[in-house]
Structures are given as structure tokens and as C-alpha cells.
Amino acid sequence: MNRLFVLRFRIWMVLAWLAIQQNGHAQTHNGTQLVKASLVSDVSSVRAGSVFRIGVRYQIEPGWHIYWKNPGDAGISTKITWRLPEGFTAGNLQWPAPMIEKEPGELQVFSYSNEVLLFAEVHAPEKLPAGPLNFGANSNWLVCERICVPGKADMSLELPSGNGESSLTASLFESFEKKVPFRLPKEIHLSYSRVGKDLQIHFPAQLAGSQFLPLPPEDVVIGHVVSHPGYFSVPIESEQKPMLGLDGILISGTGTGQQAYEIAAASVESTGQSLDAGPINWSGFSQALFFALIGGLILNVMPCVLPVISLKVFGFVKDSGRQNAFRLSLAFASGIMVCFAVLAVLVILIRAAGVQVGWGFQFQDSRFVLFIACLVFAFALNMFGVYEISVSPRSTGKLASLAKGRGVGGAFFQGVFATVLATPCTAPFLGTASAFAFAQPSWITFTIFIFIGLGMSLPYLLLALNPAWVRFLPKPGSWMLYLKQGMGFLLLATLLWLVWVLGQMKGVNSVVLLGALLLVIAILAWIKGSFWTPISSSRSRIAAVVAMLAVLGFSAAIYSFLTKPTQLAWRPFSEERLDLALASGHPVFIDFTADWCITCKTNERFAIDTAEVRQAFEKNGVVILKADWTNGDPAITDLLKQHGRAGVPMYLVYPGGGGQDPVLLPELITSQTVLDALNRSRQSLAEIKS
């Protein structure tokens, strides 16, 4: 009875195993095998006591991907369990660096496409068992395109005992071994710090442009890694979660020059402050205030402030005279202090609102960088003398008092400007102090910010206390003109740095946008300088205003035309996607287009992306695909040829319901053309159905 049960159980197990086997090897989707998994080794025979490698080679259908050990926002990591002959031991699974793939909805996954080899080192015992050696691997994975299909395979590999000669697949191991992260060279130093919710990973300049792929512990939820110049920041699930380090891999370079490094948190120093909201640590507090003061003082000689300092020193020189210098230095200092006070209040408000803020946060926003870049450029043009900021001669009656007001106001504003520009230079030095501030009650945060401002304005306060030192200032002369122009170049150098920051953040498009903005500013400044001077006639002034408005209007029109976001849910074209949509009975509209095709853009803007067409698309459940021919995709070229076209634009409307040929639209279309085509295809569909 018992034996019979065991026997039946065994048969059942075998059947179940066979079923799994079948399932594993026959993982297909619409008739294609998505992942072909096979067990391979870099040797064709095993030598006693040797170290060799075995691995699972995954050959993946184009367009699909399987996942890294941290899958990212979705998906699941690929898993392998080895079965080794007696006496053999396997090392850790080696994971080549994956790709970062973006999916709609700001999702980000770490994956492998086309082919990958996951492998491990195997140590053979000094005495090999008799007979052939059987190695086995059991693997589970999830393979996704837009849809996901789980797969598994049980594989085996038989190797004889021998001299350990290389096998045919040895080169495969070599090529994937290069992609496995190396240990970080000793001379490269990273450091962590914790700023509120964010963990920051600071890296040296030689790693600029690299990417960080995190490997967080099981019980910690983190957000997407954001790259900044000099550091990565990773939002941790909450400010309270104690986390002062994070494992991961760093990928630097691209293509064949790509190199991945392993980052182990344990071996990296952490300068992060503990965020326990315990009793106030007074010695820590006074230390932080001291650092804040010194940090603020140092801000004056930071490279990204220096040009602005030159600018304000120039301002003082220009308006020399004791009383003025006294007033100006006070105004300048108060500009700095007020700005730091405002900053402190803002930080406190934001903190209260629970939004994450880090030191240097202003420059995290590309629009802010854009704004500062434009301001710096406009200042530079002023320095070069393209235009002058002048007072209208009509207000000469009040000129005396106004000039005073302007000078003080100017110094005040320069204080503000210098402060705003200083923020990104604070990273290492103020890091400790501001991290401390962020983790503290509001009044401490406020005090720390005030001390930073105090430090920065210290030289000017001294000047205010003892205005006599103003006599050390150089005498005005014609050298000032050259100095002024020279400073313009310094400002341009600052601009170069801002362009780099923006490029790092937003890529080449934003840099071109900035270039365009600067061009517009240059034209506006030139118009102002040429046609609106204190000696210009009122007719010339009116012309200047009209010209400026025209330039603004024209550039705004071009901008909105080029960047108007489409309100249609375009999806990139693929034959599979088309088949899928048609199979589900949806009508399909395909737009064959390219970035350089003006006709295409015009059609999209004025004929396709219009309210009535959008409505019609929505009502009929039309799937809209964009076939982008910008880089001359051969599959798209074939389709164009099939319909007798040599290039883009081309528009196809599939009626849906399956089986019918698409309607080909002319190259120049209106909204009506599209609507008619939709109606026609609907009618023909109705006829077929009836």
C-alpha cells in the first residue's frame, strides 16, 4: 500500500517534471521562442583541481529583455540554481552590466537584450569522481517587451575528465567577462552623504558622465538615481530611514569603451549625519555654525562666484568715494543676508511641506539654470558695451537721489546674485553644515543659513565698519573700460560652465534651446544698444520697441511650433505592434515621419494633432503609430517602397476588423483628409460586416 503510494507519487513527480520541462523549453509567444537558454562551459573537459566556468547563455528575441539582479521598477531578476557533481563548488553568479531601459510612465528597468551569459566559477576537487561529470542548471526568468511572459528551463551539460582544454564557447565567456563590473580602483575615492531624504554619492571628475545602478537591500525602497555634476542623488523612501550607504555598479563610458565598476557601500566613507532627531548637540551646533561662517567666507573666492565678485568690485570702484563705498558695502552685505534669510525661510517652508530639498537645489531645476545662464549672458553683453543700462534724461530732476538709490539697489542686487550663483560650489565644505541644518528644527536651520550669509558678507561688513580702507581701492581710469570688457569674458566662461551643467541635466536639445535663447537676447540687446540710447529720437525708440516685439513674437512662434507637445498617444511603430492592434480589431493610423521632414511636422501640427482628429481617433479607438524614419530604419524603408513612396511623409489608415488593405493618404493633408479616410474605412468595414 505504502510502496504503491510512493511509486505513484514518483510517477506523478516525473510527469510534473516533464510538464515543467516542456513548458520551459517551449516558452513561445505567437509562435516565436522568446528566450533560448543553454548551459555552456569554457572548457570541453575538466582537469582535477582546476577552476573553470559554467554559465547559462540566454539568446533573446529582438525587442524583448530579461532582467538584471535588480530589475528596477518592474520585472523580476533572472534566477539560476546550479547542480554540481560531488566535490565541486561554485562561486557567486557573475552579472554583466545591464542596460538602463526607459518605459512609458517614467519607469526604468535594468535589463539584458539580444544575448547575455550569466556565469560562475567552479572549483573542481583534487580527485574527480569516476565517469562523465554531469552539470545542471535550473533557471527562471521573466521576458518582457510591452508584455511579459515568465519562462524557465532545466538544462544539463556533460563534461568528461581531461586536461581542461578550452571549449568552443570559451570566447563567449571572455566577451561577457569584460562586462562584469570590476572592483573600483583604489585611487578612485567615492563618498556618501545624506541630505534629508536623499543619499548623495560623490565621485571624482574622471567618472563624470557615468551612470549609477543601485543594488538596494531588500527592505529599502529607493527612487530613481539622479545624476548631478559631481554626484548622484538617490531618494530613499523616507527621511527617517537610516541609510548612509548604498551598493551598486557604476558604468562609465559607452560602447566598447564602457567599463563597469562594483561599488560596495562598506568600503566607501560616509560623511552623512545621522538623522536621529535626538536632543540638540550643542558642540555639534557651534561647530556647524563655525563651518557655516568659514564656508560663507570661502564662497567669495569660489570659481563660480569670482567673476561676479570682480563685477561688484568693479561696481564699487566705479562709484568710489567714501560715503558711497560705505553705503554700497552695507547694501551688498544686506543683499547677501536677506537672500540667505529668504532661502532659510523657503527651506523651512518646503521642509514643512515635506518636499525634498538639498543644498544646491536651485541648480537641480533646469529652468533655473537656464534663467541664470541668460542673466550671465546679458551681463556679459553689457560688459562688452553692446548696450548700456541708462537713465532717461527726462528724469534728470530726480537724478541725484535716483543715482544714489540705483547704486545701493545695485549693490544689494549684486549681493543677491552672488549668493544665488554660489550654491553649487558648496558641495564638500558646506555639505556637513547644511546636512546638519536640514535635520534640525527650523530655528537652527535659520541660524545656520544666516551664518553662511554672515561669512560671505564678512569682507564687506569690515569695509563698512572701516570705510577708510576704501582708499586702498584703485583709482578710476581708462583701464576700467578694458577691465570691464575683460570681465565680460569671465562671465562668458561662467556661462560655459552653466551650459555644461544644463547639458549634463537635460542633454543636447536643452543646450541648443539655451543657444537660441542667447541668440534672441543678443538681438534684443543689440537693438536696445543701437536704437534706444539716451540720444535716440522718439521715432527710433518706437522702432526699437516694435522690432523687439517682432523678434520676441517670431521666436516664440518658432519655439511653440518646434516644441508643442503632441496631445496624441503616439506609439513607436513596429510590425508586431501593428499586427497586435489589427488582431484586436482596432483601426490603425500610421504616421511615417522624420525629424528633418518639415512637411511631416507641418502635417502633424496642423492636420493630425487637431481637436477634431483627436476626437475622431478617440471615438473610433484608433491605435496611432509613429514610424520614425529619422535614421533611415530599413523596415520602414521597405514599407514606404511597398506603397510606392520613396520617402516621408506617408500616412496609412487601416480600417480595423482585420483583413482589409490600408488607405493611403496624400503627402499634403488637412484634418478633413484624415477624417474622410477614417469615415471611408469605417463604411467599408460596415459593408464587409453586413
Partner: protein, 204 residues
């Protein structure tokens, strides 16, 4: 000049406000209004005073399949809706993407599964999905009667598609609901969700 300095400070403030805040445990759950599969408008605010479970759902995802084929999700839905919990499943699949079905078909699937949810909501433009930062199916959120998020993350601890894992896994949603209903603080409030990506429409 003073005006310009004020302007600069304003720009600074705007710069700061650009940093976005996702839905987070301990914060109020943003309200939304969606059509359910019976054509009814459902507002999150309608359920104030009740515990609400949000379940990101997509019938063709194997991770969702694991929960429904094993009967686990339906069991949870029935057990907690019987206690007065509102269970809202949300399908954020874009038109043409996997899991985007007409209402009738979704109702048939629900009937076949024996689902016990309060409503199945349609979010084809992914607005609510993106609002909540839903990443996977399933992705679970629990909102307390005051409208505050008290749990977000995975349905359970075994990150697989294997039906057998459902029983041996720690079900975070069950634990969080039981703790919250008995007035205790939720011990595990945030976990990493796992599953298929939510099938949002591409933005290109």
C-alpha cells in the same frame, strides 16, 4: 533694482517648487475620479471614513495571474470588503497595450475570476497611475479612513510568478489592513512592488 532682486528670489522659489512629490506613506492620498467598468464615476473622496485599498490591475500580467489563479486576491477582496473596506482595482493600460479591454470584457473576466472588489476603474490615459507613481501590476496602496496613505508597495514577499508561492509568502496588505483595523500602527509601511510594468502610453 529692488524689484529685480525680488524677481530673482521668486525665480529661486519657483526652482524649488519644481521638485515633485510622489505619493508617500504618511501623507494624504491625492483624490481622483475615474469611470468604473459599469460606467459609474467613482471618486476616491466618496470613501472618506473607510479604509480603501488600491490595486493596480492588468488581467494578462503573469504576476496578477498568480494572485487570481491561486484565488488569493479574490479571497482578500471578499474578506475585507465584507468588513467595510473599499477595494478599488485600477487598470491603467493604455489603448492598444496589453490589458486594455472594453468594459464588458473586463466584467466577464471579473465574473470568471469570482472577483470580490468594490469596483474596477478604467484609467486608460494613465493619469491616476502616474499621479500615484504606480509602477507594476500588482502595486498596492492602502488609505486609512482619514485619507492618509498607510501602505504602499508589493502584495506579498515572494517575488515570483509561481502560484505555489502565494501561500508561503508574507502578505503585506493583509498584515497592514489587520494592524490598521485594530488601531495599531502598520509595521511594514513601504515595500518594493514587483510585477509587470504598468502599460502606460508612450510619450513619444
Amino acid at each position: 533694482m529692488i524689484k529685480r532682486s525680488i524677481l530673482a528670489c521668486c525665480a529661486l522659489a519657483i526652482g524649488i517648487q519644481m521638485v515633485s512629490a510622489d505619493v508617500e506613506v504618511g501623507k494624504p492620498a491625492p483624490n481622483f475620479s475615474l469611470q468604473d467598468t459599469h460606467g459609474k464615476r467613482v471618486n476616491l473622496a466618496d470613501f472618506k471614513g473607510k479604509f480603501v485599498v488600491l490595486e493596480w490591475y492588468q488581467p494578462d500580467c503573469p504576476f496578477v495571474g498568480k494572485q487570481y489563479k491561486s484565488g488569493n486576491m479574490q479571497k482578500l477582496q471578499k474578506q475585507y470588503t465584507a468588513k467595510g473596506v473599499a477595494w478599488l482595482s485600477i487598470d491603467s493600460s493604455a489603448p492598444g497595450e496589453e490589458g486594455n479591454y472594453p468594459s464588458e470584457e473586463l466584467n466577464q473576466i471579473s465574473a470568471k475570476d469570482g472577483a470580490g472588489r468594490t469596483a474596477l476603474l478604467l484609467d486608460p490615459d494613465g493619469k491616476v497611475g502616474r499621479l500615484y507613481g504606480a509602477k507594476t501590476t500588482p502595486d498596492m496602496y492602502i488609505i486609512d479612513p482619514k485619507g492618509v496613505v498607510i501602505y504602499q508597495g508589493a502584495i506579498d514577499s515572494k517575488r515570483s510568478t509561481d502560484l505555489a508561492d502565494v501561500n508561503s509568502a508574507t502578505n503585506f496588505v493583509r498584515i497592514a489592513l489587520d494592524e490598521a483595523e485594530s488601531g495599531r500602527p502598520v509595521t511594514t509601511t513601504t515595500t518594493r512592488p514587483y510585477g509587470c510594468s504598468v502599460k502606460y502610453a508612450g510619450n513619444d
